[in-house]
Symmetry: C2
Subunit: 190 residues, 2 copies
């Protein structure tokens, strides 16, 4: 049942059977209904989530009271607020499931013991987070250099299946334009 996570880990490091056992003994799977919150703004984030099925998003509520999605996490992605996690400070973000999800939730205390028992995991998380940081830089590049329509087309090309799954207004906010403008782009009225 944890296979997707073990496979993901083994893209970066090699796990001994004994280490897989240790991991299994510490992990558990949660089923979470769509639209449930894994983290609320103001809470201190002390959990990492690995998505097995469904998807989640990180969002904020802007000054006009509307939601803006900063990040999606689909199958085989980690999602959390690392700043709140490391600094033990209140989070600026909400994390919410969008579809019904199966996920592995690892609390800080569990992760810390896992990292002591299997120090190699430090390497796994290092590489994953360095790549995530790289991806965040690319995201900023796209936001800076592309028009709204270009961002939409680029995203659709990179993630054609995901575009079918995600509500348009949510994708619009992720790409930093309004839901109305998304409609016009899709209708070719731009």
């Amino acid at each position: 049942m944890f296979t997707p996570l073990f496979n993901h880990i083994q893209k970066f490091i090699v796990l001994e059977p004994s280490e897989i056992d240790i991991l299994e003994s510490h992990l558990s799977i949660s089923k979470v209904k769509k639209k449930e919150h894994l983290l609320q703004e103001g809470q201190v984030c002390d959990t990492l989530y690995f998505i097995l099925k469904g998807f989640a998003r990180q969002y904020i509520i802007n000054s006009k009271g509307s939601e803006q999605t900063l990040q999606f996490a689909i199958e085989n992605w980690w999602i959390t607020d690392y700043l709140s996690y490391h600094n033990t400070t209140p989070s600026h973000f909400y994390i919410q499931t969008v579809e019904n999800c199966e996920l592995i939730a690892i609390q800080k205390s569990t992760l810390e013991s896992l990292l002591i028992e299997i120090p190699k995991l430090e390497r796994y998380f290092r590489i994953v987070s360095q790549k995530s940081f790289g991806a965040a830089q690319m995201r900023i590049k796209f936001l800076f250099t592309m028009s709204a329509e270009e961002r939409y087309n680029h995203f659709k090309k990179q993630q054609p299946d995901f575009v079918q799954r995600v509500p348009q207004y949510m994708l619009a906010s992720y790409l930093d334009f309004s839901a109305e403008f998304m409609s016009k782009i899709r209708a070719g009225k731009v």
Copy 2:
């Protein structure tokens, strides 16, 4: 001479004197004049840079041919293109010194041997990159929710000294507005 780096590392892990010796034997300091490139678009990035003195920036050239800064790295910060580094793919970015710099450049092969000799460093780089990723998420939040003027005031409040050091047109592009608009914000003509 490497003290700023050792201090930075020891914020997150404890180094034995012997480990400091190993580190010292692998590291060297480079002096780089202002406006020199550490990485060019199209090159595969195989080096991490730790800034001791001065500062550098990561930038792109947009479709209109003008430079847009994505990231600054001041004293005690790492800068590199992690995506190019990990995937061995051509970089989308330039990395350039802005002031005369003293920096520690660590090549991939050196870093890999260091990580084998001092596995604890995996933990250091994991925590640093998770926090960087968290900071990148906050940056996207600010870009999404604040007006140009708010972004400028917020940055000035967070980094009052740095605002004095960085050319205004460069900060304007980092905050995602034009140099001309920066002038108007500063003159209170907005």
